[in-house]
Symmetry: C2
Subunit: 203 residues, 2 copies
DNA sequence: GTCTATAATCGGATAGAC
DNA sequence: GTCTATCCGATTATAGAC
């Protein structure tokens, strides 16, 4: 058997730059979304020229896809950290809290809202869709378990619960509360988790 | 005293065309949002040239502002229909249900999400802000009443409740459920109202 | 692979004839 | 006021030198 080829210095530098690009895109997508983000901004944020940026990613769409793919990797990592003796409802709440925190700290590129021009592209991008399906399957299991345990309304269709959870990090409420400046990040996260799982009614 | 001047045929035609423009913008903003809507599309949808469109509205921003202003008028009308013997919580639920229906039927231009380039402009546009403040004052009263009646969690800050209600028509969940095609509009409205006021929990 | 310079396109806005 | 034709800036993407 061959030992796995050791990455050369050049290869490591290349990977490092690519990661720096994706970090910049995380912040830009998180702040202004796909349509308002320009490739000039990305290049400037990383400190490289636009032409070099295009050597790493052939198009703006593919750049966004790579970023979203990496987000799903992070999410799957977070999901994998959960242990079997946690309650499903607690795992779901943890995930929502985590994703809102990621959004607040600028590491959460917009999940594709139907309105973004990138949405259709992402739905046809295999690597992204496959990871999304993987995540959906796991969360689907958690949701059913939580419904059977009496912690989530069993009359709610699974899709409704799933989308409600997926949509939380891009809920405009988070941005409005942040903008007002009257709440700490912790309070904002608490507000989103509470209204998500308990609604507005007394708890 | 003078009698109010009777509008001439020309003036009525002008007003009619203006209303047709705003109807088209309602649908476009509702479907793709401000940034993805182009003035060419608007002109084409109405069946006039772009230059004529600019005779009615001096800029894309002002066009959006007029549309959003008209939306607030409709909302204030809806609010005025409520009678005093209704419970505050029921009025709030009615308003959420109505706004989601408007969105589903393409008459709900996006409320300014922080991410849209129009957001800052709207916040400086007097007529819009004044109407928004008017609506906010009324809903603020309803929210406090509902909290005192024990129908809304009194520990939730007013802003959290208000923003949560304001954000419902532009919740991505609505679009996702609609796109899936598995739910009727009525079921979608019910899902949004339920998850908004009761959350995901049973009960 | 990185850069500067540039092509190609798109979209907001306007000129000028009628 | 409406139209056709056009301007102009911004943005994605690429050519070609090093």
């Amino acid at each position: 058997m061959n030992t796995p080829p050791k990455p050369s210095l050049k290869e490591r530098q290349f990977a490092l730059r690519e990661s720096a690009i994706l970090d910049a895109v995380d912040a830009l997508l998180s702040g202004k979304g796909f349509d308002l983000m320009t490739m000039d901004e990305v290049a400037q944020a990383v400190g490289i020229s636009k032409a070099s940026l295009y050597k790493h990613f052939d198009s703006k769409e593919l750049l966004a896809a790579a970023t979203m793919s990496r987000l799903l990797d992070r999410t799957l990592d977070k999901v994998a950290e959960c242990t079997d003796n946690q309650r499903a409802i607690d795992k779901l709440k943890m995930l929502v809290a985590w994703s809102v925190l990621e959004h607040l700290e600028g590491r959460m590129p917009t999940l594709p809202s139907t309105r973004s021009s990138i949405h259709e592209f992402m739905m046809r991008h295999r690597p992204y869709v496959e990871k999304l399906e993987q995540l959906t399957e796991i969360l689907g299991g958690w949701i059913i378990a939580a419904q059977e345990a009496g912690h989530i309304n069993p009359r709610l269709p699974g899709e409704v619960v799933l989308y409600t959870i997926y949509a939380r990090p891009c809920d405009p409420v988070t941005d409005f509360l942040k903008m007002g400046g009257a709440f700490t990040d912790e309070e904002i996260i608490d507000a989103i988790v509470t209204t998500c799982f308990n609604g507005l009614q007394p708890g």
